[in-house]
C-alpha cells in the first residue's frame, strides 16, 4: 500500500520535472521559462520528497527530506525573483 | 638526529606563522628561523654521515599507514645546500626590501617556500610529494609576483598554470600507482613495481609533470620570463633550488623507485632533450640583453647538463664507475645551485646600485662594485666549469662516463655548451672590466655583497677543492 502510494507520488514528481524541463527548452522567453522551471520543479521536488519520505523508516529522514524541499523552495523562489528583476531592468534600460 | 628532520619542516613553518603575526619584527624572526633551520640541516647531514640513512614515522604510525620522512646522503646534501643558499639569500633580502610593508609580505611567503623545499627533499610518500610540490609552486609564484611590475604578474601567472598542469599530471601518475600497487611509500615501491603498463604510464606522466616544473627543453618556455622578472633574492632561490627540487624528484624516481622499470631508450630521450637544452639555453644566454635574462637562460642550459647523466647512468653497470658518475651529477647540481644563487644576488646588487642590468651599459662596474664583479667572475668560473670549481669535477665525470660508454654525442654537447658559457660570461666581464673611467668611488655594502661572494666562492672553490666527502655521502642510500 505504502509502496504504491510512494510510487505514484514519485512518478507524479517526475512528470512535473519533465514538464518543467520541456518548458525550459520550448517556451519562448525568459519569464515563461522561469515560470516553468521554478513552479513545475518545485512541485516535482515536493512530490518526489513526499514519495521518498513515505519510503523511509525513520521520522528523522522524512523531516530531513522536508527540510531539503523547504530550502530549495526558498532558494529557487529568490533566485527566480532576482533573475526576473535583472531581466526587467535590462529591458527598461534598452 | 631524527628530530632534525622535524625541525627542517617545523622551524621554517613556525617562522612563517610568527612573521605573519609579528610583521614589525619579521626580519629578525625570519633570520632567526633561517639560522635554526640551517643548524638542523647541518645536524641532519652529520647524522646521515655517521649513522647512515635516517627515517621518521610521522605520528608514530607504521610506514604505509602513516607518512615516513626519509633522509639519505643525496637528500641530506640537497637540504644542506638549500639551507645555505636560502640563508644567504635571506641576509641579502633583509637589505633588498626597504619598505616595511614589502618585508611584511615577503617573509611569510619566503619561509613557506623554504618549508616546502625541505618537506619535498624529506618526503618518503608519493602523495605527500604532490602536496609539497603544490606548496612549492604556489609559494614560488606568490613570491615572483612581488616584482610588482606587469611583466612579473604575467610571467607568474604562466608559471602558475604550467606548474598546476605539471602537478595534475604528477597526481594522475600517483593515482595510477596507488591503483596498481596499493602503496604510496617510496621505499616499499621498488620492491613491488614491475615493468608493465601501470608502471610505464605512471612514470611517464609523473616525469612529464616534473619536466614541466624543472623546465627541461622544450618545456622551458615559462622559465626565463618568470625568473628574470622576480625580485633578486627570489630569482636566486627559484633558479638555484626550486627547479632543482623537481629535478631531484625525477632523479629519485628514475634511479631509485622505478630503477627496474626505466629503459635505456627512455634515458636516451631525456639525454637528448638535455643536449638541446644545453645548446639552446647557452645560445639564448649569449643573445640576452639583460643580465637577469642571461642568468635565467643559463639555468635552462645548466639543467640540461644534469639530464645528460641519465643515459650514462643507465648504461653503466652498478659499480665504482657508476658511483663516480652519479657523484659528478650531484656535484654539478650543487655547484650550479650555489653559483646561480650567487649570480642572481650579485645581479640584484648591480640592478639596485646602477639602476639597470643591461649588459651593454655595464662598463666600469668593476671599479664601482669590485666585490660584486668578483662574485660574478667566480660564478662564471663555476658555470663554465673551470677548475677548481665543483662543476669542473662534475663535467669531468660526465666526460669520463661518456668515454666509458662510448656515447660521444654527449661529449660534443658538453664541450660546445662550455664554450658558449665561456662566451656569455666573458661578454659580461668584458663590459664590466671595460676601460671606461668611472667617476664614482668604489662602493662596498657588506650585507648586500657578502652573500653573493660567499655563495659563489662555495661553488668555485670550496666544492671543487673539498668535494671528496660528497661521493662518500652519496654511498649512503635509502
Amino acid at each position: 500500500m505504502i509502496n504504491l502510494a510512494s510510487s505514484i507520488l514519485i512518478l507524479a514528481g517526475l512528470f512535473f520535472y519533465l514538464a518543467g524541463s520541456i518548458g525550459l527548452l520550448r517556451l519562448p522567453d525568459l519569464y515563461t521559462r522561469l515560470h516553468a522551471l521554478t513552479k513545475a520543479d518545485n512541485l516535482g521536488l515536493g512530490l518526489l520528497a513526499a514519495g521518498l519520505a513515505l519510503h523511509s523508516q525513520h521520522l528523522l529522514t522524512s523531516l530531513k527530506l522536508l527540510l531539503i524541499w523547504l530550502a530549495v523552495l526558498a532558494a529557487s523562489a529568490t533566485s527566480a525573483h532576482l533573475i526576473a528583476r535583472q531581466a526587467r531592468r535590462q529591458e527598461t534600460r534598452r | 638526529m631524527t628530530d632534525a628532520m622535524i625541525g627542517l619542516v617545523a622551524l621554517p613553518l613556525t617562522g612563517a606563522v610568527a612573521t605573519l603575526l609579528l610583521p614589525r619584527s619579521a626580519t629578525v624572526v625570519a633570520i632567526g628561523a633561517g639560522l635554526a633551520t640551517t643548524i638542523a640541516a647541518a645536524l641532519l647531514l652529520f647524522g646521515v654521515a655517521n649513522q647512515g640513512a635516517l627515517h621518521y614515522e610521522m605520528g608514530g604510525w607504521s610506514t604505509g599507514l602513516g607518512i615516513t620522512l626519509r633522509a639519505d646522503g643525496l637528500s641530506a646534501l640537497l637540504l644542506m645546500m638549500t639551507s645555505l643558499v636560502a640563508l644567504a639569500a635571506s641576509v641579502y633580502a633583509s637589505a633588498y626590501f626597504s619598505a616595511a610593508s614589502e618585508r611584511a609580505r615577503f617573509w611569510p611567503l619566503w619561509l613557506l617556500l623554504w618549508t616546502s623545499l625541505n618537506a619535498l627533499f624529506l618526503s618518503g610518500d608519493l602523495f605527500n610529494l604532490y602536496v609539497t610540490l603544490e606548496l612549492l609552486g604556489l609559494s614560488a609564484v606568490a613570491l615572483a609576483t612581488l616584482g610588482g611590475k606587469r611583466a612579473a604578474a604575467e610571467a607568474a601567472l604562466r608559471y602558475l598554470l604550467v606548474g598546476l598542469l605539471g602537478s595534475m599530471l604528477f597526481l594522475a601518475g600517483v593515482s595510477l600507482i596507488y591503483a596498481g600497487y596499493g602503496t604510496l611509500d617510496l621505499a616499499t615501491l621498488p620492491r613491488v613495481v614491475e615493468p608493465g603498463p601501470i608502471a610505464w604510464t605512471a612514470l611517464a606522466m609523473m616525469t612529464t609533470g616534473l619536466l614541466l616544473k624543472t623546465a627541461l627543453f622544450p618545456l622551458h618556455f615559462w622559465l626565463p620570463p618568470a625568473h628574470a622578472s622576480a625580485p633578486a633574492p627570489v630569482s636566486a632561490v627559484l633558479s638555484a633550488l626550486v627547479v632543482k627540487a623537481a629535478f631531484y624528484l625525477v632523479l629519485r624516481l628514475w634511479l631509485d623507485v622505478f630503477a627496474n622499470v626505466v629503459t635505456p631508450v627512455a634515458a636516451n630521450l631525456l639525454g637528448l632533450l638535455g643536449a638541446c637544452a644545453v645548446l639552446w639555453g647557452s645560445w639564448r644566454a649569449l643573445q640576452a640583453e639583460r643580465l637577469k635574462l642571461l642568468a635565467a637562460w643559463s639555468t635552462v642550459a645548466q639543467l640540461g647538463y644534469l639530464f645528460l647523466f641519465f643515459p650514462l647512468l643507465l648504461a653503466l653497470p652498478p659499480g665504482p664507475t657508476r658511483d663516480l658518475a652519479a657523484g659528478g651529477l650531484v656535484m654539478l647540481a650543487l655547484t650550479h645551485g650555489f653559483a646561480k644563487a650567487g649570480l642572481f644576488l650579485a645581479i640584484g646588487v648591480i640592478q639596485q646600485r646602477c639602476g639597470h642590468d643591461t649588459i651593454r651599459d655595464l662598463d666600469g662596474t668593476a671599479q664601482h662594485l669590485p666585490a660584486t664583479t668578483f662574485a660574478i667572475a667566480l660564478a662564471g668560473v663555476a658555470l663554465i666549469g673551470l677548475p677548481p670549481s665543483g662543476a669542473f669535477l662534475g663535467k669531468w665525470q660526465l666526460l669520463a662516463g661518456a668515454v666509458e660508454t662510448g656515447q660521444w654525442l654527449w661529449l660534443v654537447v658538453t664541450a660546445t655548451g662550455s664554450l658558449l658559457a665561456a662566451a656569455y660570461i666573458f661578454r659580461v666581464l668584458g663590459h664590466a672590466f671595460g676601460h671606461q673611467p668611472y667617476p664614482n668611488q668604489p662602493v662596498t655594502v657588506a650585507r648586500e655583497e657578502w652573500p653573493a661572494l660567499l655563495l659563489t666562492a662555495m661553488a668555485a672553490l670550496v666544492l671543487g677543492l673539498g668535494g671528496a666527502p660528497v661521493w662518500k655521502l652519496l654511498e649512503i642510500g635509502t
Binding site: - | E57, G60, L112, L176, G180
Partner: protein
C-alpha cells in the same frame, strides 16, 4: 535496485558528466563556461555519492562546485560579456589560420593518446584483486585514532602531516592574493527578497558548519566541509552588499588566517616535547585534539576562501559605497 537499473543510472550520470565537461570547455563564452563547470561539479558530487564517497561529495558540492564557481564567476564579472572575446585575448585572432587548426588536431590527438594510455594502464591495475593491506590497516587502527569516520582518521591522524601542509598551501594562496592587493568591488545592497532570504540563511549556514564540524568525527563531514559552508555564509552576505562580511581587521584576521597551521604545529611540537612522535596523539586525547585542530582549521579555511572571494583585505564601507555607485550600471540584483 537491481544491476541493470543501476547500470542505466551510471550510464546517464557519466554521460552528463562527460557532456558537461565537454560543453564547459567547448564554448568560448567565459560566463557560460563557468556556469557549466559549476553544474559539472554538482553532478560530480552525485557521482561521489554513488561511489560511496559522501565526504568527498560534500566537499565537492561546497568547495569544488560552490566556492570555486563563485570565485570563477567573480572573475568573469570583471569584463562585460561582449568584450571578453575581443580585446582581452589578442591571440585569438589567428583562430582561423591553418597553423592553428593543425595545432588543435595535434593537441587533440595527443590528449586522445593520453586518455588511451591511461585507460590501458588503469584496466591493468583494476584487473588484479584490489590491494587491501592499507584499508585493513586503517580499520584496524581506527580505534586508536580518536574518531570513527575513517576518512577523518586518515586526514587528521594517520596522514595528518599531509593536512598540515595542505593548510600551509591555503595560507600561501591567501598571502599571495593579499600581496597582489586587488580587492574586487563590492555589490550594491540587495532588494528585500534576497535580503530576507539571507537573513535566515546565514544563521542556518553557520549552524550547519558547526554541525558538520562536530559530526565529522563519526560521519561524513569535517573541517573542510564546515569551513566551506561558513565561507558560503560570507559569500551570500557579500552578495547582498554588506562589506564587512563578518571578517575582523588586522591582527585578529591574521591570527585567524594562521590558526589552522599554527594550532596544528603547536599540537605537533607540544607532543614532541612530551616525548611522543610529531603529531602522534595519545589515543585517549586524540578525539579532543582532532576537534581542536579541526576547529582552528575550519576558521582558517573559511577566512581564506572568503578572502579569496573578496580578493584581498575587505575595504572600508566608504570606499565600498563609492565603488557601488560606480558599479550601478553592471549591478546584478
Amino acid at each position: 535496485m537491481n544491476t541493470t537499473n543501476l547500470l542505466v543510472f551510471d550510464g546517464l550520470l557519466l554521460f552528463s558528466i562527460v557532456g558537461l565537461a565537454w560543453a564547459s570547455l567547448a564554448t568560448t563564452d567565459e560566463r557560460r563556461s563557468v556556469i557549466l563547470f559549476m553544474a559539472f561539479g554538482l553532478v560530480l558530487a552525485v557521482a561521489w555519492g554513488r561511489l560511496l564517497a559522501p565526504d568527498v561529495a560534500l566537499a565537492e558540492a561546497a568547495i569544488g562546485a560552490g566556492l570555486s564557481g563563485a570565485l570563477l564567476l567573480a572573475a568573469v564579472r570583471k569584463q562585460s560579456p561582449g568584450s571578453s572575446h575581443t580585446h582581452a585575448n589578442p591571440d585569438r585572432n589567428y583562430s582561423e589560420s591553418g597553423a592553428k587548426v593543425v595545432l588543435q588536431w595535434l593537441v587533440t590527438l595527443l590528449c586522445a593518446a593520453l586518455a588511451g594510455t591511461l585507460a590501458w594502464a588503469l584496466l591493468h591495475a583494476l584487473s588484479s584483486a584490489p590491494h587491501d593491506t592499507l584499508p585493513r590497516a586503517i580499520s584496524d587502527n581506527l580505534v586508536a585514532s580518536g574518531v570513527s569516520n575513517p576518512v577523518t582518521a586518515v586526514l587528521l591522524n594517520f596522514r595528518a602531516y599531509d593536512t598540515l601542509l595542505e593548510l600551509a598551501v591555503l595560507l600561501t594562496a591567501v598571502l599571495g592574493i593579499f600581496s597582489l592587493g586587488q580587492t574586487t568591488p563590492g555589490y550594491q545592497p540587495a532588494g528585500p527578497v534576497f535580503d530576507g532570504l539571507v537573513r535566515w540563511l546565514v544563521p542556518v549556514l553557520i549552524l550547519t558548519a558547526g554541525y558538520l564540524l562536530w559530526v565529522g568525527a563519526h560521519a561524513p563531514g569535517g573541517a573542510f566541509q564546515a569551513g566551506a559552508t561558513l565561507a558560503a555564509a560570507g559569500v551570500v552576505l557579500r552578495l547582498t552588499g554588506r562589506s564587512r562580511i563578518g571578517l575582523p581587521d588586522g591582527f585578529v584576521l591574521r591570527i585567524i588566517m594562521a590558526a589552522g597551521v599554527g594550532v596544528f604545529l603547536l599540537v605537533g611540537l607540544t607532543l614532541l616535547l612530551l616525548g611522543r612522535p610529531f603529531l602522534g596523539y595519545p589515543p585517549a586525547w586524540a578525539g579532543a585534539l582532532i576537534l581542536l585542530i579541526e576547529t582552528a582549521a575550519m576558521l582558517s579555511i573559511a577566512a581564506t576562501l572568503l578572502l579569496a572571494f573578496v580578493g584581498g583585505q575587505p575595504q572600508s564601507t566608504a570606499v565600498n559605497a563609492a565603488a557601488n555607485r560606480q558599479r550601478e550600471e553592471n549591478s546584478r540584483c
